[in-house]
Every structure is written in structure tokens, then in C-alpha cells.
């Protein structure tokens, strides 16, 4: 927030604490909203039931109740487990989530770091969670956990590539790796000369958007790609031995990552904090930008969770076949076509 001008000059420690609070909110608020809206409510509506209704009006405080429930559970570490690695694994997964939120812009001036390689940084740090999952599965000293962790490692590494390649199309079209630059390119772009609504990349990069969504689904180990956490086979896979607060960290981490990847998708394909029709450099966007972004996050997350609740899961080798033999060639085709069209037009 170095370029944000405030009425009063704040001391350094005050600025830092504001940033820390905003960072926490930026991670936890999407997580909580997604958990409530989609996991509790949308899944229930799709299953002809109402979901939690008791805690708070329409069950809105259910997540708080769940946090309280997890906090008071016994802290169990399996006897044969590697204690240090076991306890450190949830933190590694959470670290990657918090690092991801650094580069997502909430408004023209609302971004933690405005680096020129924004999207590259985001994709790089999202791979750290793989190590956390492997640590969790290995340190649990249980065969189910190990099976789950090995499946997860293979899956997450395989789906990194379609994720990155799908983003390449956006980068080529925007001409920059900078996140704010990508938003500006969508805000100020034109579709065949019509500049009314800008040029959200979803229209031209629809294939990239589809590949990105599929890859995000796999990165989050959500059905239909949830082999590592296949509940009916592995009893939650690498998470089997985790209970109480440690499980809650994985759980919140999963939904926070879902929220942040949705924010990435919203920024790259839907235009981020920009609303068509207004001047993108207006200071108004510093106020309504985060809310606009949240709305688009909910839209993208709706798609992700809709697929999650409807489809059965792939087998591991079918999953890998999908990644290597279908998604990567498709994304390469997408890059070639985008490059050609960018040069020609």
C-alpha cells in the first residue's frame, strides 16, 4: 500500500499492523465465505436439504462453532510419527496460501507487492503446498496416509503444467506479467473495436479459462480429482492422522487456497477489481474494488464447487492421462493460437 495516500501519516508500525490484519482478512474472509456459502449451503441445496440452520441466522456462524469444536479436541500425534515433520506440515501448506495473496490486486493501489513478475511469483509459490502434503503423509506413519500423499504429489506436480500454460495465453494477450497490468489490459482493451466493457480475457481465452479451472480443481484436490483424499478408500488420505486444530489448519488452508485461486482466475480472466463502464484510475475503485473482486471470486468458486458436488472421482492413472495427454496439448495449442493472433491483429 505504498502508493495509497491517507489523510493522516501513519507510523511504520501502524502501517505494518494494518497490513498484517488486512492480509489475514484477505485470506480468511474468502475461506470463511466459501465454506459457508458453498460447502454448507450450496451443497445442501443441491442435495434437497437446508444445511446448518441453528448457529446464527441461517447457520452463518457455523464456521465459528466448528472452529470452537476443533480447538477443544485432544492433540493426538501418532506414536510412530515423526513429530517435528508431523507438526510442521500444516504450516507449510498455509505458508503457500499466505504467500499467494501477496500479489493479488484489490484495487488500483491496493496490492501488497506490485512486482513486475506478479503472476510468475504466484504460480511459483503455489507449488510449496506439495511439500507440505508430502510431509503430512510421510510423517503420519500410516499406510493410508502414505498412499494418499504419494498420489497427491503425482497429481499436483502433473497439474502444475496445465495451470502455468493456461496462464501463458493470458500473459501473451496482456503483454505483461504484472497483475495490475493484466487488469488494466482487460479494462482498457477492446473487443474488435468495441471498448464498452473492456476486454475480459475470458472471451478470447475461453479455452485457457476452462483449462485453468480444471487445473485449479486438481491443485485443490477437489472432486473429481480428489484421489489423495478419497474418502471412501483412504479415509481422507494424507489427512487421516490429523485431528483438532491441525486438521482445521489444513481445512481452512484448502478453502483459503480455493478462494485465492478463484481470485487469481477472476483477475486473469474476468477483469479483477474492474467494473466495466468506469474509469479504471478512479480512486473509487480503491473502495469498491475488493468487493467487486469478492463478487467475481464467488462466481468462479461457484463453478468450482458445482463440479465438485456433481462428479465422481477419477482414478489416478486416468487423472494423469487427462493432465499429460489432454490438457497440456490443448494448452499448447491455445498458446500458439494466441501468439499468432496477437501478432496478426
Amino acid at each position: 500500500m505504498s502508493t495509497l495516500t491517507l489523510a493522516a501519516e501513519l507510523a511504520y508500525w501502524q502501517q505494518t499492523s494494518i497490513r498484517a490484519v488486512v492480509g489475514l482478512v484477505a485470506v480468511l474472509l474468502p475461506a470463511g465465505t466459501l465454506v459457508y456459502l458453498f460447502l454448507f449451503k450450496m451443497m445442501s441445496f443441491m442435495q434437497s436439504r437446508l444445511g446448518p440452520m441453528e448457529a446464527g441466522p441461517y447457520g452463518s456462524l457455523q464456521l465459528l462453532a466448528e472452529v470452537g469444536k476443533f480447538l477443544q479436541k485432544e492433540d493426538i500425534v501418532p506414536a510412530k510419527a515423526d513429530r517435528v515433520v508431523f507438526k510442521a506440515a500444516p504450516f507449510v501448506v498455509l505458508v503457500s496460501t499466505f504467500l499467494l495473496v501477496l500479489v493479488i490486486p484489490g484495487g488500483p493501489d491496493l496490492v501488497f507487492i506490485d512486482v513486475d513478475t506478479g503472476i510468475f511469483l504466484a504460480l511459483a509459490v503455489s507449488s510449496i503446498s506439495v511439500i507440505g502434503i508430502l510431509m503430512a503423509g510421510w510423517a503420519s506413519a500410516s499406510k493410508y496416509s502414505l498412499l494418499g500423499a504419494l498420489r497427491a504429489t503425482g497429481q499436483l506436480i502433473a497439474y502444475e503444467l496445465p495451470l502455468v500454460l493456461a496462464v501463458m495465453g493470458v500473459v501473451i494477450q496482456a503483454g505483461t506479467l504484472n497483475m495490475q497490468g493484466i487488469v488494466m489490459a482487460q479494462a482498457q482493451g477492446e473487443i474488435f473495436g468495441f471498448g464498452g466493457i473492456g476486454s475480459p480475457f475470458i472471451i478470447t481465452q475461453f479455452l485457457g479459462f476452462a483449462i485453468f479451472l480444471v487445473a485449479v480443481q486438481a491443485e485443490l484436490t477437489q472432486p473429481p480429482f480428489d484421489m489423495p483424499v478419497a474418502e471412501s478408500e483412504l479415509v481422507t488420505g494424507y489427512l487421516t492422522e490429523y485431528s483438532g486444530m491441525r486438521f482445521l489448519m489444513f481445512f481452512i488452508g484448502e478453502f483459503a487456497t480455493a478462494g485465492i485461486f478463484s481470485a487469481l482466475a477472476a483477475t486473469l480472466f474476468l477483469g479483477g477489481w474492474y467494473v466495466p463502464g468506469l474509469d479504471p484510475t478512479d480512486n473509487l475503485f480503491n473502495v469498491i474494488g475488493p468487493m467487486v473482486l469478492m463478487g467475481k471470486v464467488i462466481l468462479v468458486a461457484f463453478l468450482i464447487f458445482w463440479f465438485r458436488f456433481t462428479y465422481p472421482r477419477f482414478r489416478e492413472d486416468q487423472l494423469q492421462t487427462l493432465a499429460w495427454k489432454v490438457l497440456i496439448p490443448l494448452s499448447l495449442v491455445n498458446i500458439v493460437v494466441t501468439g499468432v493472433l496477437k501478432v496478426v491483429f
Binding site: 450450496m42 445442501s44 441445496f45 443441491m46 442435495q47 434437497s48 436439504r49 437446508l50 440452520m53 458445482w306 463440479f307 458436488f309 456433481t310 462428479y311
Partner: protein, 168 residues
């Protein structure tokens, strides 16, 4: 030209979306118990009620229960004769008639074999207790359940069964 087949993936999405919209507009299939309660059917086997006047302590229900969960104790007493100058009548009086609902299988054999129509089913089901010992319903409680016994339902057309009356 035949209709292009919609891939099953899309049809599946359509089913879940349709269900979600139906739940949002018409309400869900679940009810928020205990604020809203659904009434079970009249024949539902909720709890057994005892009409004490009809019971003669014949012990048939005790014998036929698969779990042996009915406990009966009675004594004989002499009732005054019907006509003056006649013989005093020997009658059974119930001291104790307990049904242990912690053991009861809700099979209904006791209600069925009772020859004197002293036992009846009621659909009342909300009698859970924190202590298991409280699940032993004694004579008075079983008599109170008689208030919840519904009338017997009519039968379908073509049936030759006769509808019984519930003694009140």
C-alpha cells in the same frame, strides 16, 4: 439428422442445478425438527399402550415376546357376585405391568397375540430418556399412552377385514 447427444457431464450438472433451484424456491425435503414435526402414519409402531380393564394377566404377551421384556405380576381376588345370592367371581388384578423399552424390538407380537384387546400401538415416539432405567414404562405410564392411540383406519376396497374399535 439425429439430435446431438448432450454429454453426460453436462446432464449431471443440470440435475444438481435443478435440485438446487427447486430447494431454493420450493423448500427442502427435510423438516427442521423439533420446530416442525412430521406426523407418522396411524399404524406406526411408536409405543405400546395398555388398557388395564381388559387385561386378565393371561401372560400370553410375556411368553410370546422374543426379548422377554414384559414383566407382569398379578393376584387373584374375589369380586362380588353378579346377582345377589350367586357365587363370588374369581378375577385377576394387575399389580405390575412393565414393558422395558430398552429391550423392546417393536415387533408387535404382544399386541397381536393378546386375546382380550388390552394392548394397542400408538405412533408416539418422543419418549427418550437420559437414563436407561427410565425406559422401563410401568402400568400408569402405559395407561397414559392410551390417550395417544389413534382410531383404527378404514380398509381399502375389496378387503374383508373388519375394523376394530379402540376401547376408551
Amino acid at each position: 439428422m439425429p439430435n446431438p447427444k448432450v454429454p453426460g457431464l453436462i446432464k449431471g450438472l443440470g440435475v444438481t442445478m435443478k435440485t438446487m433451484l427447486r430447494t431454493l424456491t420450493k423448500g427442502s425435503h427435510t423438516v427442521q425438527y423439533p420446530k416442525v414435526k412430521e406426523a407418522p402414519t396411524p399404524r406406526a409402531r411408536g409405543v405400546i399402550a395398555l388398557h388395564e380393564e381388559n387385561c386378565t394377566s393371561c401372560m400370553l404377551c410375556v411368553r410370546e415376546c422374543p426379548d422377554w421384556c414384559i414383566y407382569i405380576e398379578g393376584h387373584k381376588y374375589l369380586a362380588p357376585p353378579r346377582r345377589p345370592g350367586g357365587k363370588p367371581r374369581k378375577k385377576n388384578a394387575l399389580d405390575r405391568f412393565d414393558i422395558d423399552y430398552a429391550l423392546c424390538m417393536y415387533c408387535g407380537i404382544c399386541v397381536e397375540v393378546c386375546p382380550f384387546e388390552a394392548l394397542f400401538w400408538t405412533p408416539e415416539f418422543e419418549y427418550s430418556e437420559p437414563k436407561i432405567a427410565d425406559l422401563l414404562h410401568d402400568k400408569n405410564l402405559l395407561g397414559q399412552w392410551m390417550e395417544t392411540v389413534p382410531e383404527f383406519t378404514d380398509y381399502e376396497a375389496g378387503s374383508e377385514a373388519k375394523k376394530l374399535e379402540v376401547p376408551r
